[in-house]
């Protein structure tokens, strides 16, 4: 069992954004391919796993659905930590949720404290595209924001109509995988270093110490 598990790649995907923008609906659409009819505010966080094969690799994406209420942000610490990628959702028909993107990104970087602040994989998701009455947040504006914030990628979705939901998550997971690759290369090194390098250093140190000692003794 363990061997099989090791072959799979685990990814922690965190979805954040204002209250009521449709985070839970998006995730539900992706993991169970249905549109949630009963809308309930998420308390704390909810979790769902989805196994996908991307580029020949089996990925178990653990998708964390977080609470959108501002007051819950200080609880976010434990939810954000260890994330491989992060989707920031806003409601295209609610301009204030778009304006809050900054807050969300900063909060994530602050509480999640990923190692690579500048290059951490974010995906900006504009949800509720189905409510098109001419007043939606324009793609241009969203793209502009993304460009200003470290060339983030942007995608427009609708959980209700199932527009680009799959695409968005696939993109997100791919981004996480890219990051994972870097880490995967690093990880074994680190693991081996922990056992060997430290010893080596000690040896070197000992050698350095011993040699003069020996010399002194002699």
């Amino acid at each position: 069992m363990e061997k099989k598990k090791n072959k799979k790649v685990f990814l922690k995907v965190v979805i954040i954004g204002d209250s009521g923008v449709g985070k839970t609906s998006l995730i539900h659409r992706y993991t169970s391919t249905r549109f949630l009819q009963d809308f309930k505010p998420t308390i704390g966080a909810e979790f769902s796993n989805k196994e996908v094969v991307i580029n020949g690799k089996t990925v178990v994406a653990q998708i964390w659905d977080t609470a959108g209420q501002e007051r819950y942000q200080s609880l976010g610490i434990s939810f954000y930590r260890g994330a491989d990628c992060c989707g920031i959702v806003f409601d295209r028909s609610d301009h204030s949720s778009f304006e809050n993107l900054d807050t969300w990104k900063n909060a994530f970087l602050k509480h999640g404290a990923p190692k690579e602040e500048g290059t951490f994989p974010f995906l900006v998701i504009g949800n509720k595209s189905d409510l098109d009455d001419g007043s939606l947040v324009k793609e241009r504006d969203a793209q502009q924001w993304c460009a200003d914030n470290g060339n983030l990628e942007y995608i427009e979705t609708s959980a209700k109509d199932n527009t680009s939901v799959e695409e968005a998550f696939t993109k997100l997971i791919e981004k996480g995988m890219e990051r994972e690759k870097v880490n995967l290369v690093e990880l074994p090194d680190r693991m081996s270093q922990k056992n060997k390098t430290v010893n080596l250093q000690r040896d070197v140190a000992k050698d350095v110490n011993r040699k003069p000692q020996k010399k002194k003794c002699c």
């Binding site: 598990k5 685990f10 922690k12 209250s19 009521g20 449709g22 609906s25 009819q37 009963d38 809308f39 309930k40 505010p41 998420t42 308390i43 704390g44 966080a45 909810e46 979790f47 769902s48 796993n49 178990v60 653990q62 609470a67 209420q69 007051r71 819950y72 200080s74 609880l75 610490i77 434990s78 939810f79 930590r81 260890g82 409601d91 028909s93 609610d94 301009h95 404290a113 990923p114 190692k115 409510l131 098109d132 009455d133 001419g134 007043s135 209700k160 527009t163 880490n183 990880l187």
Partner: protein, 618 residues
């Protein structure tokens, strides 16, 4: 009166030909309209002018669908004049769900029959057209235009009986068109929910026909309904103007969306709000942030006095304030307050519980709160507590039919407002709504208010809500601590600084688990909480963990240190999946029969049944 019908269709291809034959002003208007809409506007407001008018535009969609345009000619009406378009706008818009093609067709045919009807009746001077169907796919929308005169407002009271007969306005003179409509609708509206709505509204009151010309009568009703909604939504003419002045803070088109989503519901509420608990909120568009200020006003006018003290399935209490359980909780609170009292029995209830005082206190708080809400038009927008709460009001236990009844929502709102008045410094945290809603189920407003106040003082909820970090600490220190096993972290990340996770217990504590406990089992939660506060909460958490132990033990080890439980986790993904089940909303069981009980729900109910047994055993 204008009614806009917004639809997407395939079968009305004939209409596109009609569009081509159009010329002049109509066509120009079509071109001016936003390209992303297809609309029909049918007007009968100005009887001296043309009775009907329409304008239309293409609906351009990402999906490759044929777009059809409906023109007035197509449905047997004359072309309107452009002035009508500018000035004669009336506040309703019907729209059908985009995806329901057959319904759209039914709508079109019913519209055309209505129009034929209308043309006949037009000889009468004040013929007004209304399309009064109530169903899921329709939403009747009021544009924010100020068209109501003060004289119209004075009619408001007269309209009330007509309101109860709202569905009867469907009756038309022409048996053919009526049959056609009914047939089409019964064909298309097959969902049980809609049928139910349809039936209940039909049976709500006996048919009243004052006018011999029932069609005209109905049309007048239609117009009065328009007025009624506008009047109810805004308390006075002046208020309304103020509201409108304040609203454009939103982008203008957003108003139309908000109102479109909201007014369909409000209208159906208002139509039924008189007849006890039959007013329900539509489920179709709860995902949208509704026009909260308006909803607030509507709810504040609901008459909750018709509700029985307890709506739960428990045995009703002897004193008429709530169910038997809630009376027990009251006794427990009193026992805990005064250590000299112990094991109070039911007969002591009246002696120790001063209902009069409680109810007076509650009424004072409520009156103050409502005074605030009414004195400022957009009060809710400036009050963060209310603003946040109103977003959640339609999302509280929304899988339960109960929480779609306007009167129950109003009761819930009343209690929340009173609480907000009593503890102005308490911040709104998602979770509070579930606590209050769950309490409201078991007893009447003053009792629910009193119970909550005591609970909150006992558990220091106000303090914790303002300092979430503290509840996190408290939960970790005393209730449940999650730790990551150091040697083995299958997530493969070493980013956890101190190998402990602090999420679950804290979020559970914020809502006191009330969001996760199905309403059917809520009394066991409250019993423990009123009995022994946080200790009781710990007992419940322990029971849950015991029940989940077989599943959890694959992923983590149980440890006990003092009274708290420590979970040492070796597989975070597995553990979160098991524990996460608790956070998923349960679907309704007893309180909403029409909802399917999904696999998750039955599993959820099994889980809670097991937890209940566990608690009873202990």
């Amino acid at each position: 009166m204008i009614e806009q019908l917004r639809l997407r269709r395939k079968k009305i291809s004939a209409s596109s030909k009609v569009q081509k034959s159009h010329s002049g002003k109509l066509f120009k208007q079509i071109m001016k309209m936003p390209r992303n809409k297809i609309q029909i506007r049918l007007s009968s407001r100005d009887a001296s002018r043309e009775n009907a008018k329409g304008d239309d535009s293409n609906y351009v969609d990402d999906m490759d669908e044929n777009i059809g345009v409906i023109t007035p000619q197509n449905i047997g009406c004359k072309v309107f004049k452009s002035k009508d378009y500018r000035t004669g706008r009336l506040p309703f818009r019907l729209h059908t769900s985009k995806s329901n093609k057959s319904l759209n067709n039914a709508v079109i045919s019913s519209f055309s029959s209505l129009y034929e009807q209308n043309l006949k009746v037009r000889k009468d001077e004040e013929t007004k057209l209304c399309e009064p169907h109530k169903n899921k796919s329709f939403a009747i929308k009021e544009t924010m235009e100020d068209h109501n005169s003060d004289s119209e407002e004075s009619n408001c009271e007269d309209v009330e009986p007509a309101f109860k007969n709202f569905p009867e306005t469907l009756q038309l003179n022409n048996p053919l068109s009526q049959n056609l409509m009914e047939k089409k609708f019964s064909e298309t509206l097959q969902s049980t929910r809609l049928n139910q709505l349809y039936n209940t509204s039909d049976s709500s009151s006996p048919i009243k026909r004052k006018n011999t010309d029932s069609s005209r009568h109905n049309l007048v009703f239609g117009r009065k309904i328009v007025q009624k909604v506008s009047i109810i939504a805004t308390s006075s003419h002046k208020d309304k103007v103020d509201t409108i002045n304040q609203l454009p803070k939103f982008p203008e088109a957003k108003i139309t969306r908000i109102t479109r989503e909201c007014y369909g519901r409000l209208l159906s509420d208002l139509g039924l709000s008189g007849s006890s608990s039959k007013g329900t909120l539509e489920n179709s568009s709860l995902n949208v942030v509704i026009d909260r200020a308006k909803l607030l006003k509507v709810l504040s006018r609901c008459d909750t006095s018709q509700l029985p003290p307890s709506i739960c399935h428990c045995t009703p209490g002897d004193h008429g304030y709530g169910c038997e359980n809630s009376e027990e909780w009251v006794l427990k609170v009193i026992e805990n307050e005064d250590s000299s009292l112990s094991s109070l029995s039911e007969s002591d209830f009246d002696e120790f519980f001063d209902y009069k005082k409680v109810s007076e206190q509650y009424e004072t708080c409520k009156v103050f709160a409502f005074g605030k809400v009414h004195s400022a038009v957009n009060y809710e927008a400036n009050d963060k507590f209310l603003k946040d709460f109103m977003r959640d009001i339609s999302r509280t236990f929304c899988s339960y039919n109960l929480f779609k009844h306007t009167n129950i929502l109003a009761k819930f709102l009343n209690v929340i407002l009173a609480i907000h008045q009593k503890y102005p410094e308490m911040e709104y945290i998602q979770g509070l709504n579930f606590i209050v809603a769950s309490l409201c189920l078991h007893c009447n407003e003053p009792m629910a208010f009193w119970l909550f106040c005591n609970l909150s003082e006992n558990l220091q909820l106000g303090y914790y809500y303002s300092n979430i970090d503290q509840i996190l600490k408290m939960a970790n220190d005393t209730i449940l601590e999650l730790k990551l096993k150091k040697s083995k972290t299958p997530m493969g990340k070493n980013t956890f600084k101190n190998n402990h996770l602090d999420s679950f217990a804290a979020t559970w504590a914020l809502s006191l688990m009330s969001h996760a406990v199905p309403l059917e089992y809520s009394e066991m939660l409250w019993e423990k909480l009123f009995d022994s506060g946080w200790e009781g909460f710990k007992i419940i958490i322990d029971a849950i963990l015991q029940v989940l132990k077989p599943q959890l033990s694959k992923y983590c080890k149980f440890k006990r240190s003092g009274k708290k439980t420590i979970l040492v986790c070796s597989n975070l993904a597995g553990m979160t999946k098991v524990l996460g089940k608790l956070n998923k909303p349960p679907k309704s069981k007893e309180y909403a029969i029409e909802y399917e009980v999904s696999e998750h729900s039955s599993e959820c109910f099994q889980l809670w049944e097991a937890i209940k047994c566990k608690l009873l055993d202990d």
